[in-house]
Symmetry: C2
Subunit: 361 residues, 2 copies
């Protein structure tokens, strides 16, 4: 056992900038690490150019060279402390045979949604390594471009969020169909969520092996569930994935960040999930969350993305300072937005805010 | 002062079924009163028939006879303890000159949205009594149809929620434009919210004078705001409306219910707003809320609307019982859904659930 515990952690690869990894591991840092959800996105003209070159969003995801290029773009402009793999959370349902399409102005849609219990029963596990090789190639290409300068974040959708899309068939304001299924067919829901959890664990493991240092679960629709359903159908399965990764040699030491949008009220339960950090959206009270977390986990967030659209950059940095000064001393904090950066974000504002954060002492 | 306090409350008109009024006034009841948000709605074939006859949704709102008819429809089917006026929250922006249109499949849209600070500055107060007479006529017609059998609930959108629609110009997932304005133009936002608050107070007063016993503020988009903004730009103005109504002779004793979707975490502040009851959406923990409310206010909600779509009615009533058994003894509770009933709700399930609730002891 002595030798085991002395063995350097599998994934604690040395990175020149290791602020993110240090906060996730509970180590001191000179200032909070900063990255922005959807930092490679439509607010950047160079992104829009590569996106146009790719022809479609999924073509961009499927081309490792272009996916790596757009992942690197924000790092050239802003002093960010992490890169994130460029991909989409719906790659897994697509690999499971649902047929993902992005229709203009409507967002994602599946050709073969799970509109019956029978359809759920017919789902077969897939080998993500063969079906989703393009994602791992994108991770490798991004790691190569990064060298050892920065940590790279891999990600997946949460089991519940993927199930919600797969059952509804497309985006929705309230996802009534999957929410009803949790009441009417809890066994079928369990079968689907378990299959997704296994698939997601494999998918994240492969991303780590390809060069990701940290992985994140995006639970975009956890906030649509009543408390008991959130715990049972969303958080439970994220916990299962985390436990599964901790049990695997190549992912044992990989920190996991979970982000359930609209679920700040569940922080206490989230802190017991095994996650190293909990993402908070912009409607949560970060200072109150820090008191609840009490150092058990790091917190990631939660500046209102609207702040990045302000032309008045002094007001924008004042909002950043307001957020930071409310935090109890010693809070393990990863600075981020409370949701993905919007296409309307102003590059100058993003630049001034991120430089302001980089100069904090 | 003696004579004043002995004077019967202006609006405590006697209703044969006064469960709702008793709970709002902190008096004991034999069982929780029950009503359903959007109880007059598309899940009822008789509603769809009248809606088709009216030609458009706004025609239905503008025809007092038809609006009263659809408000009465659910009462003929289900043992409900309150009626609610049939109208829309966007009548006020329409009266303020924004030009409301409902486009098929897209929802509400304004012809003249408030896309600039100048447009906000140009808004003029309106006399709701002359501009929105059709609403008060609908209240009167519904009161006439009800007689003194049941309490009637009048309503309005909250200042923030109306402002959000007016600035964005239409429905939206995140209302980025109005959310940004709160940072960039707080003074203009204040001007708009004050004008709306005054208008809403007049509007609710006129509904009370026309026969409403209770009024409710629907704050559909309060949950999109960061905590400080919710308190400053949404809850504060709802509190101002409540204070204004309490100061007016004809509305002094009228209980006000406020419902900010997605704001269960703000219950403590909401309980200090002067509202008689706080609505909770289905993602809130009702039992935990009851402990926080501690009898200061009544709580309204919060069954998941998805339960009404279940074909298995035993499972549906079991969910109702599960919700009720978690409540601390003596909770001041108005049973409702956590959001409007959906078009997919099954009439048989609604019937069995409401009869189940009516038979509770």
């Amino acid at each position: 056992m002595e030798t085991l515990s002395k063995r350097p952690p599998q994934n604690a690869r040395a990175r020149q900038n290791d602020r993110l990894l240090r906060v996730l591991n509970g180590q001191p840092v000179d200032r909070p690490p900063v990255w922005l959800m959807r930092q490679a996105g439509r607010y950047l003209p160079e992104y829009r150019e590569v996106r146009a070159q790719a022809g479609s969003f999924m073509n961009l995801c499927r081309n490792p060279e272009l996916a790596s290029e757009v992942a690197m773009q924000p790092l050239r402009r802003f002093p960010l402390d992490a890169a994130i793999v460029f991909s989409d959370i719906l790659t897994i349902p697509d690999a499971l045979g649902l047929g993902l399409e992005f229709t203009a102005g409507e967002g994602p849609r599946f050709c073969r949604p799970l509109h019956s219990v029978e359809a759920i029963g017919r789902l077969k596990p897939v080998d993500v390594r063969s079906e989703l090789g393009y994602v791992f190639a994108a991770v490798e290409a991004t790691r190569q471009a990064l060298g050892d300068r920065l940590p790279l974040i891999g990600f997946a959708g949460s089991p519940w969020t993927l199930a919600a899309y797969m059952i509804e068939g497309h985006g929705s304001r309230d996802f009534n169909r999957p929410r009803t299924l949790l009441y009417s067919e809890p066994a079928a829901a369990g079968v689907l969520l378990e299959l997704l959890s296994q698939t997601i664990a494999d998918y994240l493991q492969a991303q780590v092996e390809a060069g990701a240092d940290v992985v994140m679960l995006f639970d975009t629709w956890g906030g649509l569930l009543p408390p008991a359903h959130y715990l049972q159908y969303s958080l439970y399965w994220m916990g299962q994935i985390i436990a599964e990764l901790k049990g695997r040699d190549t992912t044992r030491e990989t920190p996991v960040i979970i982000f359930s949008k609209g679920c700040g009220r569940h922080l206490d339960a989230q802190a017991a999930s095994g996650a190293a950090a909990i993402g908070l959206d912009w409607t949560a009270d970060l200072a109150a969350a820090a008191r609840i977390a009490a150092g058990r986990v790091a917190l990631q967030g939660n500046l209102d993305p609207a702040v990045m659209t302000l032309a008045d950059t002094e007001r924008a940095t004042a909002e950043v300072d307001r957020l930071l000064t409310t935090l109890p001393a010693g809070t393990r904090h990863i600075f981020n937005l409370g949701h993905g950066i919007t296409p309307e974000a102003r590059i100058e504002t993003v630049s001034i805010v991120t430089h302001h954060l980089a100069e904090l002492k």
